[in-house]
Amino acid sequence: MTNGPQLRLGESLLPGILAVALFGVMAMIALNTGFADEMVGFPEGISVTSEIGYALFDFTALQSTEGSIGNTEPFLVSFLLVAVVLDAALDAALVLAKRETEGKPIAALSSVSTGDSASTQPAATDGGAEDGSSRSSGGEQR
């Protein structure tokens, strides 16, 4: 680990000016926006939580029609999609985090020729300058 919790000042803070500038620009826009004084708010006596639940599963029939809370958009398809996204995230995170063990030092594309091709060179893509040195440092000798 390079940097612990100690505070670094000096040049490394220079780009931070951009963030400050962005805040300035955005704040100017926000202050220049004519918001209405009153929030519409939610009607009394309605459980926001259950309304959220209904919106999640497209239970339009159950949604309250009082006030304008019924304007909430249906989210069923988003719910399903998020399920797939989480699947993908799990899959991806596992692939990345898995440590190759039990005699399976599976260096990427290290290779045993499959026989159907005359070439036994593994494909490799690394960019940049140091070519050969890169492959040795990976893996399990941490």
Binding site: P15, F23, T72, A89, A93, A97
Partner: protein, 101 residues
């Protein structure tokens, strides 16, 4: 006590800029990730405040989804940081510069 919407917006913008500040000045990959989370949560503040402002729940529900997605993003981010560490022995995002120009 009715806080005007401007304050929420300004708060979220400040939070967004703070997150951005972290991204621009921190070199630790984990810090980078946390800063992104701050920016995403700035958006969440907006969404929830505007939901109240407009009186519909779309923003609130969407904020839930944004949280889930942020979690998914972090999961992958951690995975990448892990392989980064294995390859470069470091989690400094400015170290890997083999590819440039």
């Amino acid at each position: 006590m009715n806080v005007p919407i401007e304050y929420f917006v300004l708060l979220s913008m400040a939070l967004f800029s703070i997150g951005l500040f972290g991204i621009l000045t921190r070199r630790n990959a984990l810090m980078f990730l946390m800063s992104v989370e701050i920016m995403v949560n700035a958006a969440n503040i907006n969404l929830i405040a505007f939901a109240l402002y407009h009186g519909n729940l779309t923003g609130q529900v969407f904020a839930l989804f944004v949280m889930a997605l942020a979690a998914a993003e972090v999961a992958i981010g951690l995975g990448i940081i892990l392989v980064l560490y294995r390859n470069f022995r470091d989690v400094d995002v400015t170290v890997p510069t083999t590819m440039r120009w």
